[in-house]
C-alpha cells in the first residue's frame, strides 16, 4: 500500500515532519487546548456564578439591614417628635411604635456587626471584588461602631426630653432638638454610609456577574478549540483517507454543546440580573430614599411646632426635603412600577399623595403662623396632615416591599442560571480531552 509505505518512510524521518510525529504533536496540542479551555471556562462560570450569588447574598443581609436601620431610626425620630407634640401623656400606639423602631434598629445593628466580621471573607468573591468587600467591611465596621455607641445616647436624650415634658419643663423641647440633631448628624449619616457602601458592592458584584470580557475570552477560546478539532480532523482524513474520526467528532460535539450551554446560561443569567437591577434594586433604593425624606419632613413638621424656633430652620428643611421628594418621585413615575401593580396600594401615585400631604401641611402652617398653635398641633396629630402623611408614607413602604420582592426574585433566577455550569465545563473539557486522546491514539496505533 502506497499510503503505508509513505507512512513508514515518514515514521523514520524527522519526528515533526512524519505523520505519526505530527499526529503526536497535534494530540498534545489538543489535550493542552481542551484542558486549558476547560480551566478558563470553569473559572469564568465560577466567577459569574459566585458574583451572581453575591448579588443575592449581599443585597439580602447587609444593605437591606442598613436601609431598614435608616428607616427605623428616621421613623423613631418622627414618632418621638410627634408623640412629644401630644404632650405629657403620649399616645400608647406611638410609644409602642417608637420602641419597636428602636428595638428593630438595635437588633439590625447587632446582626450587621456579626455579618461584617465575615464580610471580608465572603465566600467566592473574586479578585477586585474581594478587596472591595474587605474595604467596605472595615468602613462598615466603623459605621456600626458609631451606631452602637450613639443609639443609647439618642434614646437617653429622648427619654430625658419625655421626662422633662411630662413635668412641664421647656427643657424637654431642647433635649428633643438635641436628640434629633444627634440622629441626623451622626446616626443617620453612619447608617446611610453603610447603605451606600453595600449598594456599591452590590453594583460591583452585579457588574462582575453581567460583565462580558471573561466570558468573551472563554467563548473565543472554545470556538478556536472547536475549529482546531475540525482542522485536525480534516488533516487526518486527508492523510489517512479515513472519512471521519469518531473521537474528534465526539470532542467537537461536546465542545459545541458546552459553548452553547455557557452562552445560554450567561445570557439568561445576565438578563435576570439586569432586570433585578432595573426593576428591583434601583426603584427600591429610590422608594427608600423617598421614604427617608418623607420621614425627615414629617419630623420637621413636628419640630417646627414643638420648637417654636422662630428661626424657620425646620420649615426650611421641610421645603428642602419636599424638593428632593419631587425629584425622587418624578424618577419613580418614569422608572418605577405602576401603583396598580402594587398589591393594596391606593390608585393615587406617591407623588399625588405627597401633594395632598403638602397641602395639608401648608394649611397647618397657616394655622400656626396665624397664632393658632393648639389647632395646628391637633392638625399634626390627628388632622388632615396626619392622615395624608400616613397614606403617603404607606404608598412608599408598599413600593419598597414590591421592588425588593421583584429584586429578590430576579436575582435568584439570575443566580440559578449559573447552577452547575462550572462543573459542567470541567466535565466537558475532560470529555473532550478523552475523546481526542482516544480518537488520535487509534490512528497512532496504526503506525506501530
Amino acid at each position: 500500500m502506497a499510503v503505508h509505505v509513505q507512512a513508514v518512510r515518514e515514521q523514520q524521518g524527522v519526528p515533526g515532519r512524519s505523520t505519526p510525529g505530527r499526529l503526536r504533536q497535534l494530540l498534545w496540542l489538543l489535550l493542552a487546548g481542551c484542558l486549558a479551555w476547560g480551566a478558563v471556562a470553569a473559572v469564568t462560570a465560577d466567577q459569574h456564578a459566585s458574583a451572581a450569588s453575591d448579588v443575592v447574598a449581599i443585597s439580602e443581609p447587609l444593605s437591606l439591614d442598613a436601609e431598614q436601620t435608616y428607616q427605623n431610626l428616621s421613623d423613631a425620630d418622627a414618632v418621638a417628635a410627634s408623640a412629644f407634640l401630644a404632650g405629657g401623656l403620649e399616645p400608647a400606639a406611638q410609644r409602642d411604635r417608637y420602641n419597636a423602631d428602636i428595638t428593630a434598629a438595635g437588633v439590625k445593628i447587632e446582626s450587621a456587626s456579626a455579618l461584617v466580621g465575615g464580610s471580608a471573607a465572603r465566600s467566592g468573591l473574586p479578585g477586585a471584588l474581594a478587596s472591595q468587600a474587605a474595604g467596605t467591611g472595615k468602613a462598615v465596621g466603623d459605621d456600626l461602631a458609631i451606631l452602637t455607641a450613639e443609639l443609647p445616647v439618642y434614646t437617653g436624650e429622648v427619654a430625658t426630653a419625655r421626662a422633662d415634658n411630662r413635668v412641664g419643663l421647656p427643657l424637654g423641647a431642647a433635649y428633643l432638638r438635641e436628640a434629633d440633631g444627634l440622629l441626623r448628624g451622626e446616626l443617620l449619616i453612619a447608617a446611610n454610609d453603610i447603605y451606600v457602601r453595600e449598594s456599591a458592592l452590590l453594583t460591583s458584584a452585579s457588574a462582575q456577574a453581567t460583565g462580558l470580557p471573561l466570558l468573551a475570552t472563554a467563548l473565543v477560546l472554545g470556538l478556536a478549540l472547536c475549529v482546531a478539532i475540525v482542522v485536525t480532523g480534516r488533516w487526518l482524513s486527508r492523510r489517512t483517507h479515513r472519512t471521519l474520526n469518531t473521537g474528534l467528532l465526539g470532542a467537537f460535539i461536546v465542545g459545541v454543546l458546552a459553548l452553547a450551554w455557557l452562552a445560554a446560561a450567561f445570557g439568561i443569567g445576565r438578563s435576570h440580573l439586569l432586570s433585578a437591577q432595573q426593576h428591583g434594586s434601583i426603584p427600591a433604593q429610590t422608594y427608600a430614599d423617598a421614604e427617608v425624606s418623607a420621614l425627615r419632613a414629617h419630623t420637621d413638621e413636628a419640630l417646627t411646632l414643638i420648637n417654636n424656633a422662630g428661626d424657620d430652620s425646620y420649615e426650611k428643611d421641610f421645603a428642602a426635603q419636599q424638593q428632593r421628594l419631587g425629584r425622587l418621585l418624578q424618577s419613580l413615575s418614569t422608572n418605577g412600577p405602576a401603583p396598580s401593580s402594587i398589591a393594596g396600594a391606593s390608585a393615587l401615585t406617591p407623588a399625588m399623595l405627597d401633594q395632598e400631604w403638602t397641602r395639608a401641611h401648608h394649611a397647618l402652617r397657616a394655622l400656626d403662623n396665624g397664632g393658632n398653635h393648639a389647632a395646628a398641633v391637633q392638625e399634626a396629630l390627628t388632622g388632615q396632615a396626619a392622615i395624608t402623611f400616613e397614606r403617603f408614607s404607606g404608598s412608599l413602604t408598599g413600593g419598597i416591599t414590591y421592588s425588593q420582592a421583584t429584586f429578590a426574585d430576579s436575582a435568584r433566577k439570575g443566580r440559578d442560571a449559573f447552577t452547575g455550569l462550572a462543573i459542567g465545563m470541567i466535565v466537558a473539557a475532560l470529555l473532550m480531552a478523552a475523546a481526542c486522546l482516544w480518537g488520535l491514539n487509534r490512528r497512532l496505533a496504526e503506525y506501530r
Binding site: Q25, W28, L29, L31, A32, G33, C34, L35, A36, W37, G38, A39, A42, V43, A45, D46, G87, G88, S123, G124, G127, A128, S131, Q132, G135, T136, K138, A139, D142, D164, G168, L169, P170, L171, A173, A174, Y175, E178, L182, G185, E186, I189, A190, D193, R197, N308, A309, G310, D311, N369, G370, G371, N372, H373, A374, A422, I423, I426, A429, L430
Partner: protein, 322 residues
C-alpha cells in the same frame, strides 16, 4: 471552593500538556482600595472673638429714652392701636423656651410667662380682652428680635430684651418693665464663685444676646446656641462650664434643674423693655400708658408674684426722654 480547585488542577494539567507542545500561560491580578469617608457630628459653634458691645452714638440713658404717654391707653382714631384693632388681633413676637418669661407650657399647650402678661395687658387695652383671637404669638429666637420688629412682621416684641443704646438706634423701646443683671449659672459641684473664675472656660449664651459678648469680654470662651434651654442641655451634659445671662432667665433654668445654682454678683445692668418699630411712636406712647396703668393697679405685682415669686419689688419707675 471545590470548583476552583478542580479548575486550577485542570489548568495545571493543561499548562503541563501545553508545555510539552511548547506553549505557555500568564496570570495577572488586580486590587482595589476602598476609600473611607466619615461624617463628623457638628457641635455647638464656639464663638472665637469677643464681639464687644457697640457703644451708643451719643451718651444715652437706656432707662430714660422712651416716649411719654399722650394720655390713657385708648385706641384713638388714626393711631397704630386703632390699626391693630381694625385688624382684629395683636401680633406679638415672643420667646417660647424661657421659663417664667415666655414659654410654651407643655402641660396645657399655652404660651405663658411674665413677658406674655405684658402682651396680654396691651391686648386688653385695645380689645378689652386677651385670648387666642385677639393675640397672635409669633415665636422668635433671640437673634430674630430686632429684624422681626424692623420688618413690621410683629407689632411688639416681649422677649427678655434689654434696652441698649445700640438697639435704640434701630428701634424704640417702652419704659423699663423689668430690671435684672447678668450673673452666672453653674452645676452644684462647680468650684467657680463668679464670672472671674471662668476665664478661658466655655460659657454658654444664646446667639444674638448681649450676654454672650458680656461673658466673652470677661475672658470666657463663648458658646452660642439658639435657646436658653439649649444652654442647660450643654451644661447638664458637661459640654460647658457655665451659663451666663440675666439672673431672671437663670432663675428659670435653675427651676428646671435644682442641681444648679446662680453664683457671683450681677456684673451688668439689664433693663428690659418692649420693642416697637420706630415707625409707630404713637404706639410706644400707647404701650407706655398701658405699663403705667398696670404698675399702678397691681397687675404688674400680681404677675411678678405668680411667675417670679416673692418678695415682690416695686415696679421700675417710668422715665422718659424729655
Amino acid at each position: 471552593m471545590k470548583t476552583r480547585q478542580i479548575a486550577a488542577t485542570l489548568l495545571a494539567a493543561g499548562v503541563f500538556a501545553g508545555a510539552i507542545a511548547g506553549t505557555a500561560a500568564g496570570v495577572t491580578t488586580a486590587t482595589h482600595t476602598a476609600q473611607v469617608t466619615r461624617g463628623v457630628r457638628a457641635g455647638a459653634a464656639a464663638v472665637g472673638t469677643a464681639g464687644g458691645r457697640a457703644a451708643g452714638a451719643a451718651a444715652c440713658d437706656p432707662k430714660a429714652s422712651s416716649l411719654r404717654p399722650a394720655g390713657p391707653a385708648q385706641a384713638s382714631p388714626g393711631s397704630y392701636a386703632a390699626t391693630i384693632k381694625a385688624r382684629g388681633f395683636l401680633i406679638a413676637g415672643v420667646d417660647q423656651s424661657t421659663y417664667h418669661f415666655g414659654f410654651l407650657n407643655p402641660l396645657n399647650g399655652q404660651t405663658e410667662g411674665f413677658d406674655i402678661d405684658m402682651i396680654d395687658a396691651i391686648a386688653t387695652a385695645i380689645f378689652g380682652r386677651a385670648d387666642a383671637s385677639t393675640v397672635h404669638f409669633k415665636a422668635i429666637s433671640d437673634a430674630q428680635r430686632i429684624p422681626a420688629v424692623t420688618s413690621g412682621e410683629v407689632d411688639v416684641v416681649a422677649h427678655t430684651m434689654t434696652i441698649s443704646c445700640a438697639r435704640l438706634q434701630l428701634l424704640d423701646f417702652s419704659t423699663v418693665y423689668f430690671e435684672t443683671g447678668q450673673r452666672v449659672l453653674v452645676q452644684d459641684d462647680s468650684t467657680a464663685t463668679s464670672i472671674a473664675d471662668l476665664k478661658g472656660r466655655k460659657v454658654c449664651a444664646t446667639n444674638g444676646s448681649l450676654s454672650l459678648a458680656n461673658a466673652q469680654a470677661r475672658g470666657a470662651v463663648g458658646v452660642g446656641v439658639p435657646y436658653w434651654t439649649d444652654c442647660l442641655v450643654l451644661l447638664q451634659q458637661g459640654d460647658v462650664a457655665a451659663i451666663s445671662t440675666d439672673d431672671a432667665i437663670l432663675a428659670g433654668l435653675t427651676a428646671q434643674d435644682p442641681f444648679t445654682r446662680i453664683i457671683g454678683p450681677r456684673f451688668t445692668d439689664e433693663p428690659y423693655g418692649l420693642a416697637i418699630s420706630k415707625q409707630h411712636p404713637d404706639f410706644v406712647r400707647f404701650v407706655n400708658a398701658v405699663l403705667q396703668q398696670i404698675r399702678a393697679d397691681g397687675k404688674w405685682a400680681a404677675s411678678y408674684r405668680h411667675w417670679l415669686g416673692t418678695p415682690v419689688p416695686n415696679p421700675p419707675a417710668a422715665q422718659y426722654a424729655g
